[in-house]
Structures are given as C-alpha cells and as structure tokens.
C-alpha cells in the first residue's frame, strides 16, 4: 500500500518535470536555452518515473534493468545535446557573420 502511494507520487513528479521541459522547449527564445530545458528537465523526469517504477518491480534484475535504461538515456541525451549545440552555435555564427557583412 505504501509502495503504491510512493509510486504514484514519484510518477506524478516525473510527469510534472517532463511537462516543464516541454514548456521550456516551447517558450524559450534561443536554441541553446531550449537545449538546457529539454536535456535537464526531461532526464530528471524520466529518473523520477524510473524510481517510481523500480519500487513496483518484483526482482532485483528489473530494478537494475530500469536504472540501466535511465543511464543509457542520460548518455544518449548528453551526446545529442552536445552535437546539436555545436552545430547550432555554428549556425548562429554564420547568421551573425552574414548579418554583419550585409
């Protein structure tokens, strides 16, 4: 009974964080700010959901697999964020150079 309540609380907190990440994606003015909102808030929300689900699993193997999934998503989001930020910076610099030349 206590596990069910804790799972519901953690999952709702995770949902709130992911929704906040999407709100940041829609409302922030710049590519790099949106990257911040998406990477940090989304992965934290996923971590809370994984925590809530880990409380419900029956074996240690399931818990380890869930945490492993979360770590892999963390690594994937980090790599994607770095690549997108680097190319976005290059786009920004080219845009400024064109604006400065014209």
């Amino acid at each position: 009974m206590i596990f069910n309540t804790l799972t519901i609380i953690f999952t709702v907190i995770g949902l709130i964080f992911i929704t906040l990440g999407t709100v940041g994606l829609l409302r922030f003015p710049d590519v790099h700010s949106r990257l911040h909102a998406l990477t940090k808030a989304d992965n934290l929300g996923l971590g809370f959901i994984v925590l809530g689900l880990a409380l419900q699993s029956e074996s240690v193997t399931s818990v380890i697999k869930l945490i492993f999934i979360w770590l892999i998503v963390l690594l994937a989001a980090t790599t994607a964020a770095y690549l997108v930020a680097r190319e976005g910076l290059r786009d920004l610099r080219q845009g400024q150079a064109q604006k400065g030349a014209s």
């Binding site: 999952t11 949106r34 998406l38 959901i49 869930l66 994607a80």
Partner: protein
C-alpha cells in the same frame, strides 16, 4: 493501479504532440532535432509506463533499444545531413 499507468502514458503522449509545435515553428534545424530528442526520451518513458501497466516485460527491452536508436538518429542527422548543408 493499472489505470494510473495508462493515464500517465496518455499524458506523456499529449506532451509529445504539444512538442510537435516546435517542429513546425522552429526557425533552425537544431530546434527540429530537439523535438526528435523529446520524442525519444518521452517514448522511453511511455514504454516503461506501459510495461508496468500492461504487465508486459518485453516493453522494457523495446525502451532500451529506442534509447540507443534515438542517439544514432541524432548523430546520423548531424553528421550526414546538417553539416554538409551548412558547409555549402
């Protein structure tokens, strides 16, 4: 309890659909790739919630594969499509 998981997965799906607005509006290609990243992470969350809600343990493996494929998609897009486009 299963109903809670299904409702949470539906809310996450609505979240992703709202994130599609950034794909339509985003001025640069980076914004559109960010929405793909949102779709990947939210897809993993939806699959994990459905795995618990429908008591199908195989969905966890699907979530693992989706997480890995999401980074492959972003890397492929950046290296193969975006950088040659920006270089010309």
């Amino acid at each position: 309890m299963e109903l809670f998981y299904l409702v949470a997965a539906t809310l996450l799906l609505i979240n992703v659909m709202v994130g599609f607005i950034r794909i339509v509006r985003g001025p640069t290609a980076a914004d559109r790739m960010l929405s793909a990243q949102l779709f990947g992470t939210s897809g993993v969350a939806i699959l994990l919630l459905l795995a618990q809600g429908m008591q199908v343990d195989a969905f966890r493996d699907v979530a693992l594969v989706l997480a890995i494929l999401a980074v492959v998609a972003v890397v492929a897009f950046v290296r193969r499509v975006w950088r040659p486009l920006a270089a010309e």
